[in-house]
Amino acid sequence: MDSFKGQEGIQMLLTAEQEAQHIVLSARNLRTQRLKQAKEEAEREASQYKSHMEDEYQKSLLESSGSSGSNVKRLDEETEDKINNLKQSASKVSNEVVDMLLKHVTNIKV
């Protein structure tokens, strides 16, 4: 009778010990999982951030190509104007210049 009761007691203790280990092990497993989750969530947040930055970047590219296109156009127009003014003022004095050249060619200082 005594030994049986003793056995039972020891059994209960052993069981309790096992359960205790189980509880602690579970907690440790959860912690490992949690750390893995930290990595996964961090990655997700980071890639969200990246796609946000990429969108902003693309937007700024569009803006800048638009403005540089208009710059080029303005430059071209200014150049055209300059050249036209050039041609106009040239045609005004062209005859004078040609006459001057001819005069000097045919005027011989001996």
Binding site: A16, A38, D76, L86, H104, T106
Partner: protein
């Protein structure tokens, strides 16, 4: 100890074991949460920093490319303007070159008036050439069409030179075989042509003085170019 005491002790121990385990589990759980937060934050911040730097670099490259493109455009524009200036000035030379013909074209207009002007021009050109060469004996080449005019004024040109320089009359040998190319026309636009004037050389052919109207225009044009450009383009940087 009796049975119920033992039993109670065992129960207590069982409870104690369980309690300890649960406390430990709870500690682990709490520190797991803390570690989770710290780890996640650190990872996110590190990645964000890298991403920010990457995009800063990208933006900078875009800036640089824009600047380069703009300065290339600017250069292209400048070159266009310079080219246009050049074209304008050269077309004036072309126009003058065409006008040369009217100077020497003594066959289509009144022979008396126009012919004398060109004839006298030829004489002056010959005298000037003689003065430059200062040779006692020279070779002279002219256009075939101008031959008779040259022969007409040759003697008086030689005399004028001799008087001016106080030397003997020079010997002027006119080349009757090889002539200067003829006046430009529709046919020979791309070949050699000559609008008039003469070419003189020392007897040994080593010193040559080109006094054709074309050569004179070339030299004159080059000399007057700065002046012409200033007149046309004013203070515009050349």
């Amino acid at each position: 100890m009796n049975d119920s005491d033992v039993s109670r002790q065992i129960d207590q121990m069982v409870r104690f074991i369980r309690q300890e385990a649960e406390e430990k589990a709870s500690e682990i759980s709490v520190s797991a949460e803390e570690e989770f937060n710290i780890e996640k934050l650190q990872l996110v911040e590190a990645e964000k920093k890298k991403i920010r730097q990457e995009y800063e670099r990208k933006e900078k490259q875009v800036e640089i490319r824009k600047k380069i493109e703009y300065s290339m455009q600017l250069n292209a524009s400048r070159i266009k303007v310079l080219q246009a200036q050049d074209d304008v000035v050269n077309s004036m030379k072309e126009a003058a070159s065409k006008e040369l013909l009217s100077v020497s074209n003594h066959h289509h207009l009144s022979l008396t008036h126009h012919g004398h002007v060109y004839r006298n021009l030829l004489k002056d050109l010959i005298v000037q050439s003689l003065l430059r060469l200062k040779e006692p004996s020279v070779l002279l080449r002219c256009r075939e069409n101008d031959l008779h005019l040259v022969e007409h004024v040759l003697a008086s040109a030689a005399q004028e030179y001799a008087d001016k320089e106080n030397v003997h009359l020079p010997e002027i040998i006119v080349d009757n075989n090889v002539f200067l190319p003829p006046a430009p026309s529709h046919h020979n636009i791309h070949e050699l042509h000559c609008s008039g004037g003469v070419v003189l050389a020392s007897r040994d052919g080593k010193i040559v003085f080109e006094n054709t109207l074309d050569a004179r225009l070339d030299v004159l044009f080059r000399n007057k170019l700065p002046e012409i450009r200033k007149q046309l383009f004013g203070q515009v940087a050349a």
